[in-house]
Symmetry: C2
Subunit: 102 residues, 2 copies
């Protein structure tokens, strides 16, 4: 799990399909599908379930397990960032004025 | 700053040149140079200094400022990881047995 995969799960959740999620993220369908496939294979249970066929050519949903992983990942990142807020600010102050802070 | 840029600074430090560092990291020279250029422009002072000419076609050094940034970045990451060690372990346990943990 990482920021890109977490954002992809959010995008699948809100759009209901991998292709729409890929489009919304400016990512190729193949890339999105590969990321979903990697996540589904690397975790104990699938994070995304897909349905084939239907009028929209199938669709995709984040599973309950996927929601759990996403929630835990987001909480972990928030806690980690919080724990180093001062150090992060000190590093940001070493950046040139006007430099992107991302 | 991120893991890739931090590792590149380490590789420049130990090899004394951007081209050797790129080679050691399996990265193109152009990619390494672009990353160095981005770092040098984004921070208040250069993180890497380069010398042109000479028998090795110049060389590169991590500046004192670069060492400071690198030290602070590594300390920040270590503290952040430490702060979420339990949560990280819980996420790792949601991975399939045998899945890469990176």
């Amino acid at each position: 799990m990482g920021p890109g995969k977490a954002d992809l799960l959010d995008a699948i959740e809100s759009s209901g399909s991998i292709s729409a999620a890929a489009r919304n993220m400016g990512m190729s369908y193949k890339r999105a599908w590969d990321l979903v496939d990697t996540m589904n294979r690397c975790f104990r249970q699938p994070l995304v379930s897909t349905a084939t066929g239907g009028s929209h050519g199938g669709g995709a949903q984040v599973t309950e397990f996927g929601h759990q992983v996403l929630r835990r990942y987001r909480a972990l990142v928030a806690k980690a960032e919080q724990s180093v807020a001062t150090e992060l600010q000190e590093l940001v102050e070493m950046l040139a004025p006007g430099a992107p802070k991302g």
